[in-house]
Amino acid sequence: MATILTKNTKVLVQGITGHQGTFNAGQMMEFGTKVVGGVTPGKGGETVLGLPVFDTMVEAVKETGANTSIVFVPAPFARDAVLEAIDSGVKTIAVITERIPVRDSLEFIQYAKLSGTRIIGPNCPGLASPGKAKVGIMPNSIFSKGKIGVVSRSGTLTYEIVNALTEAGLGQSTVIGIGGDPVIGTSFIEALSLFEKDGETDAVVLIGEIGGTAEEEAAEFIESRMSKPAYAYIAGRTAPPGKRMGHAGAIIARGRGTAQSKISSLEEAGVRVASIPAEVPKIILKEV
């Protein structure tokens, strides 16, 4: 996925001095990511894991040449942090923070459009290309290098399925967690179109869930614009209408956003849909 993540991607960690920020900066470095520093207002001049901490994003980008940032800043301050990142000139921003007000997300996503900055998330586990780099919080141990692209609205469910792929000998090119909020910066369609163009990806796994119509739109895109085979799993077949199932975006509202509607749209588009997570590698192996 050379357009957003390579071996040479230089990453800044916003909120690096917090517990999550420090821990995940370390994990990303173990994965092989070039983490070049962090930003925490008021903590400039300190070091974390041997990395320089800056007060502002502009300063951090100037000193390190970073092109990517990952945001761990708490929800009430996340909007400011993402806007700052956009103005600093980085090209990709992964927003891990959960429970950001939708209005704030709408604002920074619309603002990012003006400069062509890519936002991934919010409320997402980030992205990883095994053997290259990880900008996110997905556990390092689940990955193996290969040709399958994975795009998902979920966190731990992605780990579950990626791990199952790895155990079945199906390595991954890139795994993108696009986030579980109703409004997100990178959609299924945008991620799928990146995979379609990506020379290192041969097939794609889409992991969706109830709520909204993103999977239906993805199905349309797969049918009309994708040549690579696609497989899917949709969570929430048994979810009752009107209840928010943990993720802010996972709700069957006014009869829309059911798992059944998503599964039939995908199947009609020629996508094979697994009924349980463990079945995902099986349906891929059956075809190859």
């Binding site: 009430p76 939708v102 119509t213 997570p277």
Partner: protein, 367 residues
């Protein structure tokens, strides 16, 4: 969070959106200075109250009191109304639909307008609904307002009123972190006024920390769900017999679906979040016990979660709470074999495979 109608109307009023004259009563005795004809409306956070008998007209005080007694005795989708909104009945010329919501795919607010007001918008055919995206950086524009007025065939003098109302509705939506601000119906009265007949407002839950003034206790939640919300636990009550605890919302949903494959039905959805803190595990079990499931299924997939410390938490909680119902555990992550051995030693059924754990839990649940 959904606001009750009268609270949504108060918010309308503070933004200059006209509402009918009205007030709230909590008992029939509070009905005093009523101007007839009047309408009494049950205040519940769910739709369909009209069909359930929650909206009644009255033309005498006696009728109004009888209606109030009836409404306060209703149960509407599980909610007993505690308040009745008493409003002057309007002489209706026509009914319009207006709302502002969020277009998730477009990542931009969306205004909907229709001449088919007064019914649920899902029942209005798509070609009879007008749609306008409103960019948050510039707000609703004059040309859009002119388009909407023409679309609804609104002429002067109501045109001026509707223009003002549209600007105010947008402002209310944006300033209050709404997911939905709906006027349905917007009533054009026989004497030519525009008045909000009903009001539906949903505030984005994640923004509530900055809207403390709007906090609403009468939500669409069961008492246990409300308690969970106050404690910050993602918890949903369902109809089945298996209490499911997992880490992560997607994984929890997938676990419920996998159970269904074997006839098992989830009774509780509890997302533990990304943690192996034994205190959280304990809190989760305490909660799930309150929902009295027949079986508990704990599914932890942790790349970095230490399974032995999860096991330790489960054992501690089992002893402390004296849990007698069967507990099925599936854990993956660091030190997983050690964790499973600890659990098996204490009579808890521990699996590596999710599918097998679901089969076992379903069987124990009586499926």
């Amino acid at each position: 969070m959904k606001l009750l109608e009268y609270r949504a109307k108060r918010l309308f009023d503070s933004y200059g959106i006209p509402i009918p004259d009205g007030y709230i009563v909590r008992s029939p005795e509070e009905l005093l200075n009523v101007s007839f004809p009047t309408v009494l409306k049950a205040q519940v956070p769910v739709g369909g109250r009209g069909k359930a008998g929650g909206v009644k007209s009255a033309s005498t005080l006696q009728e109004a009191r009888t209606a109030a007694v009836g409404i306060l005795g209703l149960i509407i989708s599980g909610y007993t109304p505690k308040e009745i909104l008493v409003e002057r009945k309007l002489a209706i010329e026509r009914e319009i639909y207006l709302s502002v919501t969020i277009d998730r795919s477009g990542r931009i607010p969306l205004l909907l307008a229709s001449s088919e007001g007064g019914m649920e918008i899902e029942n209005v055919p798509d070609e009879k609904i007008g749609k306008w995206h409103i960019h948050p950086f510039i707000g609703i524009q004059g040309y859009q307002i002119r388009e909407i007025c023409s679309y609804l065939r609104i002429e002067d003098p109501q045109r001026r009123e509707l223009s003002e109302l549209l600007r105010n509705l947008w402002k209310l939506f944006w300033e209050n972190d709404c997911e939905l601000a709906e006027v349905n119906p917007l009533i054009q009265t026989q004497d030519g006024r525009l008045v909000a007949g009903d009001a539906k407002i949903t505030i984005n839950d994640d923004s509530l920390y900055r809207h403390k003034d709007l906090l609403n206790l009468e939500e669409e939640l069961t008492p246990l769900e409300r308690e969970a919300k106050e404690k910050g636990i993602a918890f949903v009550q369902l109809d089945g017999e298996i209490g499911v605890i997992a880490n992560g919302a997607g994984l929890t949903m997938a676990t419920l679906d996998n159970l269904a494959l074997y006839g098992g039905r989830g009774g509780v959805f509890l997302d533990l979040g990304g943690t192996d803190d034994p205190k959280k595990t304990e809190q989760a079990f305490e909660f799930i016990i309150k929902a009295s499931p027949r079986v508990i299924l704990l599914n932890i997939f942790g790349g970095m979660t230490k399974c032995d410390s999860v096991a330790e938490g489960v054992l501690a909680v089992k002893n402390k709470l004296d849990i007698s119902i069967p507990v099925v555990v599936r854990i993956r992550g660091m030190n997983e074999q050690q964790g499973r051995d600890m659990l098996s030693g204490a009579g808890i059924i521990a699996f590596k495979d999710l599918d097998e754990a679901c089969r076992k839990a379903s069987e124990l649940g009586g499926a």
